[in-house]
């Protein structure tokens, strides 16, 4: 039995039951339907990134601490980038200073033979 056949068989029963619904029950049903329509929301994106199912975002009530925790990674990212930008030149300069002052001259490190030996040592 397909869906249409099932619906056509079910309809008379539902019609008969609907005729027997009292005024109070009909009002309750109508009210429930309106509440359901009112609760329906289009999917939203949390922080513009993650799609959240209809109504879910509106029913989640984060506390202050939970909200703070949600923003913590962003705060950490911004802080890290700020610190990184301050230390970056120093770190890069440190690497160059080490390269220039160790035993081999810098052009050893662009020497094909040396690079080949190094590659073999790593493998």
């Amino acid at each position: 039995m397909n869906e249409k056949e099932f619906a056509s068989r079910l309809k008379p029963f539902l019609d008969r039951a609907a005729d027997q619904v009292g005024e109070v029950q009909a009002t309750k049903l109508k009210s429930a339907r309106l509440r359901a329509l009112d609760a329906y929301r289009e999917p939203v994106r949390l922080f513009g990134l993650v799609p959240v199912a209809a109504g879910t975002a509106h029913t989640i009530h984060y506390g202050v601490v939970q909200r703070a925790l949600l923003w913590l990674p962003i705060a950490a990212l911004l802080a890290t980038l700020a610190i990184q930008s301050m230390n970056d030149v120093d770190d890069l300069g440190d690497l160059d200073a080490q390269l220039l002052t160790q035993e081999l001259p810098p052009d050893a490190f662009i020497d094909q033979d040396f690079r080949s030996w190094l590659g073999k040592s790593h493998s």
Partner: protein, 150 residues
């Protein structure tokens, strides 16, 4: 949900940090620092490249200044090597310097005895010459106009 957001942000953060580090390394927008504004202590360390300084791109000046900041803490032999090698180092193309840094970092990842073995092998192959002295393979006079700021 919160965990997913946090994971997403962590991935974005890692990508941003990597991207920004690469961008800062050779940012053509880095402003140049005139020689007279270089701190006196660093001027002393950077003396070998003073004639070319004002023609260098800003990002290269910043890296050299970063290296020169370590100069006061160096041992006498390290200072000697720094001064002897600086001019040729500055004359390398950005790609050559990047390749040299990568190789150097690769060397540092090896166990000390393996590092020593490779150093000895290279020194032996190059006839026991004074490895502290510069060995010009590239141009001795840097051509900054041909080095694209990438």
């Amino acid at each position: 949900m919160a965990r997913q957001v946090a994971q997403l942000i962590a991935v974005l953060a890692a990508a941003l940090m990597l991207g920004s580090a690469v961008a800062r390394d050779r940012d053509p927008k880095t402003p140049q620092t005139p020689w007279h504004q270089v701190p006196r202590e660093q001027q002393r360390a950077l003396q070998p490249v003073a004639p070319e300084w004002d023609r260098m791109p800003g990002y290269q000046q910043q890296r050299l200044m970063g290296a020169a900041r370590k100069y006061p803490e160096m041992q006498p032999i390290q200072k000697e090597r720094f001064e002897a090698r600086l001019k040729d180092w500055a004359a390398m193309s950005p790609d050559q310097r990047r390749a040299a840094r990568e190789t150097f970092q690769g060397l540092r990842k090896l166990p000390p005895e393996k590092q020593h073995e490779l150093r000895e092998r290279w020194i032996q192959q190059h006839g026991g010459e004074d490895v502290g002295a510069p060995r010009s393979r590239g141009p001795s006079t840097p051509d900054y106009s041909r080095a694209p700021p990438r």
